[in-house]
Structures are given as C-alpha cells and as structure tokens.
Symmetry: C2
Subunit: 318 residues, 2 copies
C-alpha cells in the first residue's frame, strides 16, 4: 500500500509499505478518506509521539473506509461495511488495522470526505462539552477559534444541546459560515476576538486558541462556570488570576483524547456511536470540509492544514 | 454589647453597640467564643466587604454560643441551646443575630473555644474535598499550608474519608503535631514545602498557600486529578502550563464560601449538620486551637492571626 511516512528529518514522504493484517480483535480497513489534524504536524516535529500499538511513523488520526478483512474474534462486522474511526496514527495510508471496538458506522447519507472529518472533532467536542462539562439547554457557551475543525464541531454540539452559542472567529469573511452552522431551531452568534466580553457571562468557555491572555476569560464566567482547555497552539503558558477563579467558584478543565488508554477510547467510541453518529445521520450535525486533496497531494494538504483561514476540516481522499 | 469594630482608618477598636434583635427567621446568640480568619484582616483593609444582610464593620466569621432569643417563625430551637455557626460577619461581638437555618448544634463534649474554630474551617474543607472534589477512600491527597486553621481541617477530612494524606508544612517544629491529626486508623505523612513531588502522584491537591510556583503542582497530579484552589495569600497570580493540564486531563477548581447566596449557605450548613458535626461529636474530627484571647485582647488575637507558626485556629473568648 501507499502511505505518508515521517522520515528521519521530520519530513513527510509518500512510500510503499506492506499491507497491515488484522489480528483477532481487529479489522483491516481500505481507507477512502482521512482527516488531517494539527497533531500530525506536531508528530512530525517529534513532540507528539504515537501511542503504543499504532504505526509510529505514519500520521493520520481519523479515517473513513470500507472493511476489507475481519479478525477471527470480531462479531457484528462484515467485509464491505462502511466505517469511520478515531485512530492513534496510521490513517494517512491506503490501509489501516483498527481495533473493532473503535469503529463507528457511516451514516447512509455521508460522503467519505465528510466521514473522514467526523471522528476526531466530534469525539473531542462531545467528550468535552457533554461528558465532561455537562452542557445543558439554556447554557451560554463561548467557543474560541470556532471556524476550525474542532471549533465547528464544538459550535454544533453546543447548539444541538440547546445552549446559546457565541463563537469567536478571527477572519470576518468566515463569520457567516460559522453562523450557518446552527442546527435548525438554534442560533449561533459570531464575534471577533476581544469582543467576547460583550456577550458574557458564560457557563462554559471552550478554549481552542490559547495564548497569554486566554485565562483572563475566567472573568467572563458565570458563577460555577467552566473553561475547557482543548487547544492552546497560540501559546501554551498563561497567567491565572486565582482570586477570579475562587470568587467565580470556577473550574479549568484540561482535556485530550490521544493519551487515553484503549479502554477509555473504546468507551468514548461507544458513546459517540450511540449518541453522536445518529445526530450526523439525521443531519443535525454536519462536517464542514474546508478542502480535500488526493494522497499524492499530501504536501499541499499539510500546507493547507498549517495555514490560516480554514473553515472546518482538511481531508485527503485515497 | 461590646463589639470589635473596624473604624474608618481600617483599625480595630472595641466599642459599645446596641444589642441586635432577632427577626422572625432568626435567633439571637450570646457569643461565648469566636474564630478569627484571614478574611477579617482583609475586611479591615477594605478588600473583602461583608455580604449583604450582615454587620458591615464588625469582623468575625464564625461563632459558638448560647441561644438568647428565638424569632417567631423559628421551630426546633430554644433559649439556652448551645450552637455554632458560620456567619457573614459580626462574630467578634458579645451578641449576634443569625438566620436559624445556618445554626449547627454543639456536640456535648465540645468546649466553646473548639466549637468557635469549627464552622469556617470544616465547612470549607467538607465542601471542597467531599462535595466538590468527591474525595474517596484510597485517594492520595496533598494539603499545602497544612498547619493552619483550614489546613488542619482539610487534613482531617481527607484522612477521615479514607484518603492517604500528605501534608506540606513549612515549620519543622509543627510536623509532629500535624502528623498526630490523623484520625484513628489513618496515617498522615508530613513533608517540607518543595518535597511534595517525592510523594506524587496525587488525586487531589488542596492549595492553601498560593504563590507564583503553585500551579506547577499540576505536574504532581494523577490522570484526572484535581487542584482545589482555596487559599492564595502567598501570591494570587501564577502561570499555568496548559499542556500539563490537558495531558493530565486535570481540573483546577476555585472555591470560596463567603460570596454564596443565603440558600447555598443554608444548604451547606444542612450538609455539615448531617455529616460533619457527628464526626466532631464522635471525636473523629477535632479542632486544634492555637491560642485563645479575651475580647479585650483583640489586638493580640489579630496579631497572632497575622503572624507565623500557628497550629490550628486562633479564637476569642467572650
């Protein structure tokens, strides 16, 4: 098979690799599309190694494709099933082996490219907002960096949960597109960075940007409000005014999925299968695809991922 | 009645005031002892005003005494009942009026001075550790600043909950006394500040000191661990390394009691009445009294409160 491989110097190369073979609890998937994530670039720089049990030098954290081979102990899966999955690496290749308990069924109406952009963003958004922060109807939720892959998912999950969503988006040309993410019956307000205070207070702030000023947003919280720290690429260290946290009786919650145990990931996949995939199937959630590239256009794909002004997910089609 | 009053210049003075009279939902209490807290000093400096409904210029956040008058709508209380309470201010006076739903019964074996040091520290400790952080048997809990009033309560509540407690105490001459706080069947380890890492990881860190380095303790947390930010007098702003928070999937939880609504305070008092006072009555919790002063020794009392090397609570006896 062809695969994108991170070479010794941290550069991406297209290489031939042997097709992987499914073990007893696994399935082999012919990948039709795969999502790109900032973690792929971090992995290439050497500061985000793949977790044990996954290819160490093939990037790619989410895939959509067709089951080609089913392990001896796997039940309920057949060759030809259309699946998607959040994986620990190895997604940017024509074939991947995935533990069966991580697989999600592809809704009938979803294209490969949309499905490839679903697992990472929506697992992250559902886990953070619903499972951890317990978002509820009527909550006021601020999402920073709302136009990106995870941001567009956070906005939709919050709005679908009945929250009033304020989305902070730097590029004004993307404001209307973020507004249109609102599922039927909900509204999403869009503001420029720095203007979030005018819509405060918030029950939940989803931090997808980071930077030295980001923890000042504790001031924007309602009593017992929560900040979910999900992305901090704009700056990873910030001063916290602890009296603000105490007086608001607020919580800062850090979260990632990648470092979790297999059991935890399987538990999250089960939750997503039960609760989130149906919302995608019903059209209440959708995956905005910023751009799609063929496998041999991998350089352009990663460049687009690293660049500014994206709306939603960057994917590869294989 | 005599009362300590904060005058216009922020100094404490002993003055005569009219005896307060209980309204329909209140009781008037003849105060026999009252605890001192750092918030009393902050209030005198003008940066911690009393909440609405409480004396604005009389310090004192916790009292023990005898019921002298019962409001018309209060049931289940009689003149002569021995009570204690966490109050919004006005405790450093011979009499105080308290909403009946904040009163706690005094266990038979408790002295006035011990009872006066119970409400603030143990309500804070129970609310933070049990109600908010959900401490459980087997948890590893670090308490910084463990020799003070709240610290000694946190150590005991954690140990009584079945946690393994590591207490960080600056003064080595207090180490043995903190060790001896362990309720029967539990053990408390005591370390010097800076040595907490040797006993990591922790499920819960109780921050009672603050300072610029305090949020580095995120590194000492177990996955999904929590830092309870309860006291930050050693420095109120600290840098947070957000990747550490994310990778540990950790939580920072800020908490105070003073700013809560009356309904929330009454709910907490009900919890303390049901769950914590019985542990005091059984001798599984105790109130270490650092020192006791008569009302006219108020200057010495506040000086002792502000000074170093205390073990447990400073109280006044009236």
């Amino acid at each position: 098979m062809r695969a994108v491989v991170i070479d010794g110097s941290g550069a991406f190369r297209l290489k031939q690799r042997a097709d992987p073979v499914a073990g007893p609890d696994q399935v082999a998937v012919r990948v039709h599309a795969a999502g790109l994530n900032a973690a792929d670039l971090q992995q290439a720089r050497g500061d985000y190694p793949a977790p044990p049990g996954w290819p160490t030098d093939i990037p790619g954290l989410e895939i959509a494709g067709e089951v080609e081979q089913v392990g001896a102990d796997v039940t309920g899966m057949s060759v030809g099933d259309r699946v998607m999955a959040l994986v620990g690496g190895g997604g940017h290749a024509e074939r991947i082996v995935v533990p069966a308990d991580l697989l999600l069924p592809l809704p009938a109406g979803s294209s490969w490219r949309e499905a490839a952009g679903f697992p990472e963003a929506f697992s992250t958004a559902w886990d953070a907002l619903v499972v951890q922060a317990g978002v509820r109807a009527g909550d006021r939720v601020l999402v920073t960096g709302a136009a990106g892959g995870v941001g567009t998912a956070m906005v939709q999950v919050a709005a679908a949960s009945g929250a009033h969503v304020v989305a902070s988006v730097r590029r004004t040309e993307l404001h209307d597109r973020v507004k249109e993410l609102a599922p039927a019956g909900s509204t999403v307000e869009v503001v420029a960075p720095g203007q979030e205070g005018g819509r405060a207070p918030y029950d939940i702030v989803v931090e997808l940007v980071g930077g030295e000023e980001c923890l000042r947003r504790v001031e924007l919280l309602r009593t017992r409000g929560k900040i979910l720290v999900v992305g901090v690429q704009g700056g990873t260290v910030a001063p916290l005014r602890m009296f603000d946290l105490m007086l608001a009786r607020a919580q800062l919650i850090g979260t990632t999925i990648r470092g979790r145990s297999h059991a935890e990931k399987a538990l999250l996949a089960a939750t997503v299968r039960t609760s989130v995939v149906p919302l995608l199937a019903e059209g209440r959630l959708r995956v905005p695809v910023d751009s799609a590239f063929p496998l041999d256009g991998y350089s352009d794909a990663y460049a687009r991922l690293a660049g500014p002004g994206k709306f939603g997910k960057v994917v590869m089609e294989l």
